[in-house]
């Protein structure tokens, strides 16, 4: 897909995100805006996937697991814009009886979601299980994941990391949203991750770095990552992003992790984001 088209989709997704969280005065815009470009590329170019009909088993499809479930707004927008469910349903986000729960869940049968997430640190294990089942089924598709950087403070992540390398789970590409921010402030100050690249390398993973806001670089690194599949090592991409990317007064601050813009702020944000596909 042409880069300009990907940029157009990303702009619309960012509009969806700020409108969704503003409408219910809750949700997590910061990380959602920061991961918009990556998820746009994943769903509109990188993954082989089927929106309709949606199949929970996803046989012969690439699968995506969102481990940091609080950035549900970006995922919901991407899924709707990919055809998994009507775009108009984005207007029900976080409202009573909606399929678009605050954090992603399967129990209301929203197409595109295969696992609940929100309580952090579980998605890598889920993805490894799905990856092992792919191998048992002789299914050569790929498992993709996304994790927050703060989320890496959870111990289960490192249990999973150890398992994946020891067992040569090499049909998985994990991505870390390395924005350096978490609720209480900078990751460096809350609980430093130390040398993150060296940690993953020491755990036996193939480590790549990527600029999460440059589609050319995303394409280059994702292509490189795919070329390394099947080589006996799991792959992780440390993706540099800015929380709040695309909205000037949100960018780079942890304050917009879990705060929604008010009406005035929403208007200001929408001025900066072109409506390319039509608002829901």
């Amino acid at each position: 897909m042409e880069i300009v088209k990907l940029e157009g989709i990303a702009s619309q997704v960012r509009r969806d995100i700020v409108r969704m969280v503003s409408a219910v005065n809750s949700g997590h815009p910061g990380g959602s805006l920061g991961c918009t470009d990556f998820l746009t590329f994943l769903y509109f170019e990188a993954m082989n996937h089927s929106a309709t009909p949606f199949s929970m088993d996803g046989k012969n499809e690439d699968l995506f697991f969102l481990s940091n479930g609080h950035i549900s707004p970006v995922w919901y927008s991407i899924l709707a814009r990919s055809g998994y469910f009507p775009v108009a349903e984005l207007g029900t986000f976080r409202k009573l009886s909606s399929r678009l729960q605050g954090h992603p869940s399967t129990d209301k049968k929203l197409p595109g979601i295969r696992m609940a997430s929100g309580s952090l640190g579980q998605g890598l294990s889920n993805a490894l299980g799905a990856a092992q089942t792919k191998k048992l089924n002789n299914d050569s598709s790929t498992i993709f994941t996304l994790h927050g950087d703060g989320e890496l403070q959870e111990g289960q992540i490192w249990e999973a990391a150890m398992y994946a390398a020891a067992n040569k789970v090499d049909n998985i590409i994990a991505t870390i949203d390395f924005n350096g921010r978490q609720i209480d402030g900078d990751v460096e100050n809350v609980l430093s991750l130390g040398n993150l690249e060296a940690k993953w390398e020491a755990f036996g993973w193939e480590v790549l770095s990527m600029n999460g806001h440059d589609f050319e670089n995303i394409r280059e690194i994702m292509t490189l990552a795919k070329s390394k599949l099947g080589n006996g090592k799991p792959i992780v991409i440390i993706m540099k992003t800015e929380m709040g990317q695309g909205v000037d007064f949100m960018v780079g601050s942890h304050k917009w992790h879990g705060i929604a813009p008010n009406a005035e702020q929403l208007e200001e944000a929408l001025k900066q984001l072109e409506e390319t596909l039509g608002d829901y």
């Binding site: 929970m56 088993d57 996803g58 046989k59 699968l63 697991f65 869940s105 399967t106 129990d107 295969r114 696992m115 609940a116 997430s117 929100g118 309580s119 640190g121 579980q122 998605g123 890598l124 294990s125 889920n126 993805a127 490894l128 299980g129 799905a130 990856a131 092992q132 089942t133 792919k134 048992l136 089924n137 299914d139 111990g155 289960q156 249990e159 999973a160 150890m162 398992y163 020891a166 067992n167």
Partner: protein
């Protein structure tokens, strides 16, 4: 009615045999273990189906998360570790990735309760039934002996949805027929009677059989129910029996809080309040000792069931 003892074995071996049989009959069954393959008797499955056996190391949270993920694509994962590490250690992983996500995972838990024995209270979980029955979508099964554990293991593979299967370490008498049918959610009425209903699960079923014999010698007619499925609970069987006997004893190797007794009391309190005596551990941790010494010390032994039955009858 007398119960023929068909042999003596541990319930965990029933799980091991059931899993081994499933390995041969159901290609979708996979097994995960957290460094307790021998203790869980998963060796046969591991040997016969190495490609479907996943050793995860001492990392139970990752095991539960992986099991949930393995269902995507149609596998039926059976996880194996001690009951403590199958529940308390990984409650949030089970809650989000398995129960809330409605995944077809079978959580198979050995060494439950006091009869784990000498390792002591760190490993003797007495809260697991309560934790698991509180989770929406979870089925909770506590089979009574070796044969029933094997039958339950095979039965849960055919049932779609999350299951908690609880069994134990000690060698106990076998009394369930090897060809008995295991129906999830259907209580086994082992003996009909008119004076008192005893509802038991797990190792306390055998203790209750012994108690019923002693009571019978005193001229007391016991209706004895093996409540192998704690959730969904066979409320109809409870109400039918207690309507006849007008008093009940529940017996389990678990805390009073959250266990079988509480589940039964909920049914009776709502529909048919009657005198109810509880044989269960009463808000205390266990300790080191031999399994049978511990059952005596923590008053969940045969004589305690007898005394509870007499007290329940006296309260009518």
């Amino acid at each position: 009615m007398s119960f023929e003892v068909l042999g003596n074995k541990d319930t965990r071996s029933g799980f091991g045999e059931g899993l081994s049989e499933l390995g041969k009959t159901n290609i979708d069954v996979v097994a995960l273990c957290a460094d307790l393959t021998g203790s869980l008797k998963m060796d046969a499955f591991q040997k016969d189906h190495p490609e479907r056996f996943f050793q995860v190391g001492i990392a139970e949270a990752n095991m539960m998360g992986m099991a949930a993920g393995m269902t995507i694509g149609g596998k039926i994962p059976f996880t194996g570790t001690f009951a403590n590490f199958s529940t308390g250690r990984v409650y949030d992983q089970i809650r989000q990735s398995i129960a809330y996500s409605q995944k077809n995972v079978k959580i198979c838990a050995s060494h439950a309760g006091l009869t784990l024995g000498e390792d002591g209270a760190t490993h003797q979980i007495l809260e697991d039934i309560g934790m698991m029955r509180m989770l929406p979508n979870m089925t909770v099964i506590v089979p009574a002996d070796f044969n029933q554990t094997k039958q339950a293991t095979i039965a849960i593979a055919k049932h779609y949805g999350p299951v908690y299967l609880r069994f134990g370490r000690p060698v106990m008498p076998i009394f369930v027929k090897p060809d008995a049918e295991f129906i999830i959610g259907k209580a086994d009425v082992l003996q009909e009677g008119t004076d008192v209903t005893i509802i038991a699960c797990g190792h306390l079923v055998w203790k209750s059989i012994e108690a019923a014999k002693i009571l019978s010698e005193q001229g007391i007619s016991v209706e004895l129910i093996n409540m192998h499925t704690i959730k969904p609970l066979d409320a109809a069987a409870i109400l039918k029996s207690v309507a006849k006997t007008s008093c009940v004893v529940t017996a389990e190797e678990h805390m009073r809080n959250g266990g079988l007794g509480e589940a039964v009391a909920q049914v009776l309190g709502e529909h048919l309040p009657r005198p109810h005596e509880f044989i269960a551990v009463n808000d205390t941790f266990g300790e080191s000792g031999s399994p049978m010494e511990l059952m005596t010390k923590y008053v969940i032994d045969t004589q305690n069931v007898v005394a509870a039955a007499l007290k329940a009858i006296s309260r009518k």
